[in-house]
Amino acid sequence: MTTTTATSKKKRHIALGCEGSANKLGIGIIAHDPLTGAATVLSNIRHTFVSPPGTGFLPKDTARHHRAYFVRVAKQALAAAGVSVSEIDCICYTKGPGMGAPLTSVAAGARTLALLWEKELVGVNHCVGHIEMGRAITGAENPVVLYVSGGNTQVIAYAEQRYRIFGEALDIAVGNCLDRFARALEISNDPAPGYNIEQLAKQGGRVLVDLPYAVKGMDCSFSGILTQAEEVVAQMKKGKKGPDGEAITPADMCFSLQETVFAMLVEITERAMAHVGSNQVLIVGGVGCNERLQEMMGAMAVERGGSVYATDERFCIDNGIMIAHAGLLAYETGFRTPLVESTCTQRFRTDEVFVKWRK
């Protein structure tokens, strides 16, 4: 945490970011040094809506959760940051993409803060938030970005002031595939289904269950794999034997699914790296905190003479600080979202954002 001398004039820019595009409500406060551009995280508070095993989070329940916790989380974020309201320059919020009801609930909260404190509003693209936060935390200059979460699977590279999407999932996102697989196995959703799959997979490895492998150029597809995996889970419950004659266990299934889908992700990332001639790769998004994925990506990057950059769950999983950071970058270039335009949109592609703050 940085300290500022009370006597000096405004030395740093401060933004408060509100995120709630899925089941995490996050509010964070960030400071930028206008001279060096260095970012300092002042606070990063998150509260997650967890649904019972075997179910997913529904928009209306998630929105209710966000509304119920918004004030509490905002107060915590302010207290933890140790800044007064008057020091804050702008309020940033997730404009999209995401689930409609949770997005609008959090946007209403952000608008309230902006009106109450007489601050400017900045609408932020969620995906750009992930990318910028990943770059700031890891120091990766110009990496190929693999953005993997419950709603998005994209391979992104920066070119000419836009984050261009080189490859993406043609149907469901990889995180959605993992979440729904967890539902089929009735694994706990606490803290996250993907985390529990990862832990369970560590006990697997005895056999590799044959699953489809669907890479199409730089794009990939997960729905067929999910269907097949669900099918095998149904057979497993009836006592299906693996290739070695032993019964298949949930751990074997988690292991096989991870090995297959992560191999696909690493492959499309490698193809994008070869295509743009980069040897840095940055993994962002909730699935990005999976250590097996990071390990596989690392093995690939090392072979290409490069390196992998990843962050931990504080920044990988949806959070308010990334919205504050990306919003503040835009704010510093003069970008504002007038109150009348402070809407949300469920569909908001990464490449729609004009990245004015990068060369």
Partner: protein, 262 residues
């Protein structure tokens, strides 16, 4: 694509036998390594495509993918060659060892040709009013025809990008075009069939076009508006092409929808 000189890779076994000319590493793509060597006689250059095992992949999955991909690639190349699609000819292969030896194609990738043409053009991609874009538009049309020819034979490339197309210089047509126009001259030879499959469904063909469209837009944002010429010349290239173009619209919509959740 450029091979890194500093990095020394162990050669595949097939290249460790004595030869008149030493093999040279041409490119390290995502899929594997491409070596230039000779086939049977020292005057016949050829390309050896080698898929090393990937350290990040589970060994069973790795072996399964490597073998299936080399075998599929050779099979598809052979089919294209017999049907008269411009592709490198297959000389030899060993699928389990992960290599296939193919004809050497002279020339440069289409990607390089387009970039040479675009040069230092301003960002929005609009050419100067005086500029004659015909050579570039012609290239787009040849790309569309090449992809149409491929699809006509029932082959899906699976990874269509401008890096996976070569511009083979015209031997018989002496050109009197300017230097700039020369950058985009030549026959299109499709290469890298590592992800190719055989299919005649509109869906698969449309996805193939979609992959190209997306790769083109992200590689050549300044020439994106010319991509329509690729589709225009694709359309009359074989009988079912118009319905594939219609299907492409569905595939685009499906791709675009993919910005749903955070």
């Amino acid at each position: 694509m450029a091979a890194t000189e500093e990095q020394q890779f162990p050669l595949p076994k097939i290249l460790t036998y004595p030869a008149s000319a030493p093999p040279s590493l041409i490119a390290q793509g995502a899929e594997g390594r491409l070596y230039k060597t000779t086939h049977l006689e020292s005057g016949l250059p050829c390309a050896l495509k080698y898929r090393p095992s990937k350290p990040y992949r589970h060994p069973i999955l790795d072996a399964r993918l490597t073998k299936a991909r080399i075998a599929a690639e050779a099979k598809v190349l052979d089919r294209c060659y017999r049907e008269g699609v411009r592709v490198p000819a297959v000389y030899a292969l060993d699928a389990a060892a992960g290599w296939v030896m193919i004809e050497w194609v002279d020339g440069k990738p289409v990607r390089q040709g387009i970039n040479d043409w675009l040069g230092e053009r301003p960002e929005d991609g609009t050419p100067a009013a005086s500029e004659d874009e015909t050579p570039l538009v012609d290239l787009m049309k040849r790309i569309g025809e090449a992809v149409g020819n491929l699809h006509r034979t029932g082959v899906i490339h699976g990874d269509l990008t401008t890096s996976n197309m070569m511009l083979k210089p015209w031997a018989s047509r002496p050109s009197n075009a300017g230097d700039k126009a020369k950058a985009v001259e030549g026959d299109i030879v499709l290469i890298d069939f590592g992800l190719a499959t055989q299919s005649s469904s509109d869906e698969d063909r449309a996805v193939d076009l979609y992959v190209l469209e997306r790769a083109f837009a992200s590689t050549h944002p300044r020439a994106e508006r010319l991509f329509c010429h690729v589709l225009d010349s694709y359309k009359p290239s074989y009988k079912k092409a118009p319905s594939v173009i219609i299907k492409l619209e569905d595939v685009r919509m499906r791709g675009r929808k993919k910005s749903m959740l955070g």
